[in-house]
Structure formats: C-alpha cells, structure tokens
Amino acid sequence: MTHFEQDLASLKETLLTMASRADSSVARSIRALVDRDDDLARAVIEDDSILDELEKDIDGMAITLLSKAPLAKDLRLITVAMKISQNLERVGDEATTVCRRALELSQEPQLKPYVDIPRMAQTGLEMLRDALDAFVTGDAEKARAIVPRDKDVDAINKQLHRELASYMIEKPTTITRALNLMVVSKSLERIADHATNIAEEVVYLFKAQDIRHLGKGQNGSSNS
C-alpha cells in the first residue's frame, strides 16, 4: 500500500468510527426516551462532542489529502467523506435533541405508549447502517435502494403529528408533552434524511452519478 493509500484508508477508518458513534448515539437516545433513563440521556448529550471532534478531524485529513491533487475515485472519496461526516455529525445533533426532550418528558407521566417512535428510529438506523454498509462494500445498488425508504419515515412522522395534534385539541394539559414528542418525531425523520443523503453520496462515490434532487421515478438506476 502506498503512503497515499494508507492516508485514504485512515480517512475511511475515522469515518467508520464516526458512523458507529453516531449510530450508537441514536440507539441510546431512543432507549433513554423509552426507559425514561435520565442518566443515559445526559451521557448521550455529553458524548456528542466526540462526534464534533471527529468531524473536524475528517475535514483536516481531507484538506491535506486534497492538497495532494487526487483524481477520479480518490477525489470523489475525499469529498464524499467530508459530506458523510457532516451528515453523521448532524445525526449526532438529532440524537442530542431527542435526549433533551426525553429529559423534559421524564418529568411528567408518559402521554401515550411509544410504538411509532421506536419504529421510526429503527427504520432510520437501518437506513443509516445500510448506507454505511454500502460505503464499505462498494455496493451502489444497495445505496440506491435506501432512498425510497425515506418516504416511509416521512409518512410515520406526518401521522404522528396528526395524532399528537388531536391530543392537544382534546386536552390542553398534554400540549407540552405532545410538542416535545413532535420534536422527537421530527428529529427521527431528519435522521432518515441524513441516511438518505449518505446513500446518495455512496452512489456518487462508486458510480460517479449524481442522484440528488431527482423527480419521482428517476432514481437514475437505468443509467447504472
């Protein structure tokens, strides 16, 4: 392996460390919410600084690598790594938002059984894991298949908003809790968006094809 390849490998490795940290933050934030575990929620908030630092590390490594004038796939890998790390950092931010709301929600009795929220988190995490798996294995088709799954999460988010609105209309004392749950739901929906962004970057990395912002039925798969 050349020195440049070693540096690229170390960039990838740092990115995967970051991905596993972001994944764990989301999983723990949902556990903190469902189990009403304030200590866990606070730990997740505190750990977020690790993701922030990793994002800066990746940017530093990427800038140094870019100054060496990489071309073709190496060039795409470095720019994609910067974008993926930014998305992972945001995933971490969403996990801290969930935890902050969990800390408020645990002050009052639970409004409703949490069914949809863990389901959304689960789907978002699966999308994130598949996107990273596609990044590691170089599987652009797997990455491409992630994009439509974002719609499922969007649908649950909308449905949950309607449901929570009806709680608020019926009983104003539920407003604080319902609003907190709306924020949680929105955060989970954003996590799925970040997973989608990462999947799109993975397709660009391996196929040099930009599939962002395409209309319905145009996920670019016919060109691959």
């Binding site: 020195h3 730990a43 590390d57 800038i63 060496k68």
Partner: protein, 272 residues
C-alpha cells in the same frame, strides 16, 4: 464520557508528533551567495530538521538549486562563486578552513535531475564508491549492493542482471540506481535536485514512495517544480523567490493557508 483519544484539533494544520520532535540538522544564518557581482542568495536563514523531507519550491532562477548545492559545497566547483554567512550541519561550520570536502560529500549525498549512472554494470555502479571508500571484501560488497538496491526499491527488478550495463535500465530505474548508489555510503543527508522531473508518472510515483521510505533513515532536502510532489512527500516546504526565502513552514500550512501573498500566488498558479 469521551472514551476515545482524539487527535489534535485539525483546523489549524498542526505538526505531527514526528515533525514536532525532529531535531535541527542543517542551519544557515545570513547565507549569501554571489555569482561574480550578482547576488543570487540574499541572506537565507533556515533550520532543516533531521529525518524529515524538506522541499524547496519557487520559479526558475529563484536560487533554490543554488541553495541546495551549498549544503555539500557543490558551488565550490564554480570559480566566480563567493559565499558569506553561516552554514552548519550538526552544529559544524561546513565552510570552515579545516573541513574535508570529500568527507562532507560523503555525509551529504546528492541525486540529480538527470540520472547519471556510470557506464558500468549495475553492481559496479554501487560497488565503485564503496571500494573508493575502502571496502574491499567481496562478501561485504555483495551485502551492501543488495541492501542498497533493496533500499531503493530496485532489487527485485535487477537482481537477475546485476552484471549487465546500468545504461540498459529505464529512466526511472536509472534514477533509483543513482539513489541506491547514494545510500550505499550511508550519508546523513540526501540532496535531491528535481529527481523525478525527467520521469513518467509511474516512475515518479515509485521515486516518491521511495523518498517516503528513505526518510526513516535519512534527512532529505528536495528541489521540485512539481507542487503536488511537494505536498505528497514533504513535511516542510520553503518557497524561494529571486534569491529570497519568502516563506518556510509545514507543507500542509504552505499549501492550505500560506502566510505570504507571493507564496499563495505561486502555489495557486497565479504567479504574474
């Protein structure tokens, strides 16, 4: 809880531990060089660290090669040259009267732009200098020839034809042979004057990889016109312009956030 060890904050392009801990080896103070009456180097102060790669960049005629050649007194060979100021290697003034220039050039080896193997066999190219410096036994010569060729990443390509003419090698192989010849006498410092400028990209990549390997054992100072080459292989970069050292800093700093406008214009290709 922060369970993993974080690297240093990367936004300000910090030095690596290796760069940080390296000790100074070459130091010049107010070094000036004249070709007749024209001043080619204008008071250069620099400290070059041991076992790192330092690159000299700058437009043609800026003095970078002239400065490089001060470190093994190659400019002495030109009659009209006069040098003032200090140049120390390992604390020793190399322009002092009692300095043995042959010994100095053994400590400070040089690789040139155009490969210049002797018109002899591959084996003899390396063994020649060793014999000159007193090694006579064949076993010892064989050992050093192999070690040097391995060190220059050439052994596997030439081991079956050590006694064929060195002139039959490709340009890239000849350049690596010249590097093998230089490291055979174990210098402390290797000066390289555009060692890859006459090579194709594949041969260049091999020489660059070799330089990164060699810095484990040697201090390397390289003149290059290829800026990406400087970013790929060097730890520190010095930018020269019309006989002046304009900026000298970590390579990452020079190429991502230079302090001087002239450096920035040069590295971005906007030089007027």
């Amino acid at each position: 809880m922060a369970a993993i060890t974080l690297k240093t904050n990367s936004t300000s392009t910090p030095a690596t531990a290796e760069q940080e801990s390296a000790v100074p080896l070459i130091e010049t103070k107010g070094l000036e060089l004249f070709y007749g009456t024209s001043k080619a180097l204008k008071g250069i102060d620099i400290t070059i660290k041991e076992k790192l790669v330092t690159a000299f960049i700058g437009p043609s005629g800026c003095g970078k090669s002239t400065f490089l050649r001060c470190f093994n007194r190659m400019n002495d060979l030109i009659d009209s040259v006069r040098i003032t100021g200090e140049c120390r290697i390992g604390g020793e003034d190399i322009y002092a009267k009692d300095i043995d220039v042959i010994e100095l050039r053994k400590r400070v080896g040089m690789v040139f732009q155009k490969s210049n193997p002797f018109p002899k066999s591959i084996y003899e190219n390396i063994a020649y200098a060793l014999r000159l410096h007193g090694t006579k036994e064949k076993a010892k010569l064989d050992e050093v020839v192999e070690k040097s060729l391995r060190g220059a990443a050439l052994w596997d390509e030439v081991k079956d034809r050590l006694h064929s003419s060195a002139l039959g090698l490709s340009g890239g192989q000849q350049q690596r042979l010249c590097i093998a010849r230089t490291i055979a006498i174990r210098p402390e410092i290797i000066l390289m004057d555009e060692p890859a400028s006459a090579l194709d990209p594949i041969a260049t990549a091999k020489v660059e990889e070799l330089i990164l390997e060699l810095k484990k054992d040697f201090t390397i100072v390289i003149v290059t016109h290829n800026m990406q080459q400087a970013t790929r292989i060097s730890d520190y970069t010095a930018f020269f312009y019309i006989g002046e050292l304009v900026e000298y800093d970590l390579t990452t700093k020079i190429f991502t956030n230079p302090a001087n406008k002239r450096t920035e214009d040069y590295v971005t290709g906007r030089f007027g």
